[in-house]
């Protein structure tokens, strides 16, 4: 008995996988290769001459305090966004799990934000927090908080974290809710009989049992915050004020397309590529395998 799939024609299998391969090569492998090549070149401002400089671009990058600052900022941004998005969605999921009436309406409405384009999500929050016309900044003003993210870097940072996290809450909510519903009811009941109150039940039984979901979402959220938040930032603060919201992906764009330092920008994107690869390996190694509790 032959278990392998056999094709009548020699080239048929190659033809069938060709579309996938072609797309991957054109849109992923080739640009990535270009970035690697570009990252060892220096080009003059007018694009007339290029020079091969070995790893000078990288050396400059890691010697540049503003790059390291951005690196640090990105890490803070990613973990803040992930923590906010996960914490809030877990809270929503726990509440949705208890709802009996109108359950589907509630769930559907919580999933909607995921369909909103990142740039729109950014603008939405930008408008609400707008120091001149924003409703939230107006209300904050009433309670004595002066909000101006055009001037205040910390407030701008908080704004992009909120906007980026809001976008991700729906996604996390769906996973957390599924995870919560997979926790057997009898375990909760056993814990109740064992004298554990609602909070203790949650922290000692439900939360540990959710850990595979939580770990998976942590990786996904970090990746999202690292790489997919360009639109949110570009639509709101554009990295400002004074680079307070400039994260790595934004710096790649800024240095490359605004500052026209193509070599340095390419080197940055290669660094980002390495980070993606590491995160992917982590995900495959630990997430794909079930996290043991």
């Amino acid at each position: 008995m032959q278990k392998r799939v056999t094709f009548s024609h020699r080239y048929l299998p190659y033809l069938l996988v060709a579309p996938q391969i072609i797309i991957t090569v054109i849109f992923f492998i080739w640009p990535a290769g270009q970035a690697v090549v570009q990252s060892v070149l220096v080009e003059d401002a007018f694009g007339l001459s290029t020079e091969f400089v070995w790893f000078e671009n990288y050396q400059e990058l890691f010697a540049d305090p503003s790059y390291l600052q951005t690196f640090y900022r990105t890490i803070v941004f990613s973990f803040s966004t992930a923590a906010l998005a996960m914490g809030f969605s877990l809270l929503l999921a726990v509440m949705a799990d208890r709802i009996i009436k109108g359950e589907s309406v509630y769930k559907t409405m919580l999933i909607w934000p995921y369909a909103v384009a990142p740039a729109l999500a950014g603008v939405l929050w930008f408008m609400m927090f707008n120091p001149t016309i924003g409703i939230i900044s107006f209300l904050l003003g009433k309670v004595g908080v002066s909000w101006n993210h055009y001037l205040n870097g910390d407030q701008a940072f908080l704004l992009v974290v909120i906007a980026a996290a809001w976008k991700q809450i729906s996604y996390n909510f769906v996973f957390f809710l599924a995870g919560l519903q997979a926790v057997p009811r009898s375990l909760i009941e056993a814990a109740a009989i064992d004298g554990a109150g609602p909070f203790r039940r949650f922290w000692s039984i439900v939360f540990p049992l959710l850990s595979p979901t939580t770990f998976f979402l942590l990786v996904v959220n970090l990746v999202y915050a690292f790489f997919d938040t360009f639109a949110v930032i570009h639509a709101t603060t554009q990295g400002g004020p004074a680079k307070a919201t400039e994260i790595l992906v934004y710096k790649v764009f800024n240095d490359g397309f605004i500052g026209l330092d193509l070599g340095g920008s390419a080197a940055q994107s290669v660094v980002l590529m390495v980070i993606v690869i590491v995160l992917t390996i982590v995900q495959f190694k630990y997430v794909e395998r079930k996290v043991a509790y």
């Binding site: 057997p184 814990a191 109740a192 554990a196 049992l209």
Partner: protein, 359 residues
């Protein structure tokens, strides 16, 4: 040590479905009461109401004289063994057992000592560091028991604890549970759909049907004196045979096609039925001495007993006969069968209750 008093307990769900129509039950200190019935009869709901996992619609529930209707499960000082064991999968056996004690603020040293004691009783000493996933079905069952025992609660509640075990282990654990309950003397409620389990474990039995208790009594009382056709058919294996009776003039009752008058009634029973257990029939030499003649259509030799299945003239249902030892009866034989006159039961098919007759 505690008593349970269930007084007019009712359960109605939000959608209007009434799961329990009212039940009264007093459980004495140290007694093991088994609630038995087919699935959907409300037995688990009743147990869950006692546990505090379901709200009580009407009536009162008292444990040790205190009304606990509005107490949280954790405040009722009960322990429950679930059908699927409900062991915490992320905790070791030790932590599973210690969890309830920790929640009640028992000291670290005392927890260690108590868990060790219980582990010794249940032979779990070597397994304390394992996770539930690394245990066999029987071991998980014992951990679930241990988790209940270690807290030394007033009441044990068992919700079909043996139904996930294989047949051999089930018999073994059944004996173990009974022995343990006797040794600890803890008042217990035990829910099962298995009538053998019910008969062997119970001090007293509650047979439930469609949200109502059909009969409450000792196992032997229920076996020898079933209050209804439902109870008679549910308790005992193979189930009791029911035979239609004819009413002659003067209210005398007989089997169709038979001359022997079995009883007399005043005509108030709608459709009189005779109940006779398979073990209370015997074969006789000639048709003249027989109550019925069974045309045999199947035989099951069990070694110690032989079950004979067949049909009789004028009777719709199949009739089962249990004979001691082995017999050379063949399919298609006509077997004259006589009834043990001391073990006849009469019911009224119209309402299913025991009929009032003179024999």
């Amino acid at each position: 040590m505690a008593t349970i008093k269930i007084d007019g307990l009712k359960k109605r769900y939000a959608n209007g479905f009434e799961a329990i129509h009212g039940i009264d039950l007093d459980v004495a200190d140290g007694e093991l009461v088994v609630i038995v019935g087919p699935s959907g009869c409300g037995k688990s709901t009743l147990l869950r109401m006692v546990a505090g996992l379901e709200t009580i619609t009407e009536g009162t529930l008292s444990i040790d004289g205190t009304v606990v209707n509005d107490h949280e499960p954790g405040q009722r000082d009960i322990a429950m063994v679930f059908q699927n064991y409900a062991l915490y999968p992320h905790m070791s056996v030790f932590n599973n057992m210690a969890y309830g004690l920790r929640n009640r603020g028992v000291g670290r040293e005392e927890i260690k000592r108590k868990v060790a004691d219980v582990a010794a009783i249940l032979e779990l000493g070597d397994l304390l560091d394992r996770k539930p996933a690394q245990l066999s079905g029987g071991q998980r069952q014992r951990v679930a028991m241990g988790r209940a025992i270690v807290r030394d609660p007033k009441v044990f509640l068992f919700d079909e604890p043996l139904s996930n075990l294989d047949a051999k282990l089930r018999v073994q654990m059944r004996i173990e549970i009974k022995r343990l309950q006797r040794r600890l003397g803890t008042t217990s409620l035990y829910v099962t759909h298995d009538q053998v389990e019910a008969m062997t474990l119970a001090d007293r039995l509650v047979v439930m049907n469609a949200g109502r208790p059909e009969q409450i009594g000792t196992p032997m009382d229920i076996y020898t004196n079933p209050a209804s056709m439902f109870v008679a058919g549910f308790i005992g294996s193979p189930a009791m045979n029911f035979l239609a009776l004819e009413r002659m003039e003067g209210g005398r009752l007989r089997l169709p096609g038979s001359e022997a008058m079995l009883a007399e009634d005043d005509g108030s029973n709608g459709a009189p039925v005779l109940g006779i257990r398979p073990e209370h029939m015997r074969t006789v030499g000639t048709a003249a001495d027989a109550d019925i003649v069974l045309s045999v259509d199947a035989i099951e030799p069990l070694g110690a007993d032989t079950l004979v299945y067949g049909r009789a003239l004028g009777q719709e249902g199949e009739i089962v006969l249990r004979l001691g030892g082995s017999h050379s009866i063949g399919e298609g034989d006509n077997l004259p069968v006589a009834f043990d006159r001391n073990h006849l039961h009469f019911f009224d098919r119209a309402n299913g209750r025991r009929a009032d007759v003179r024999t």
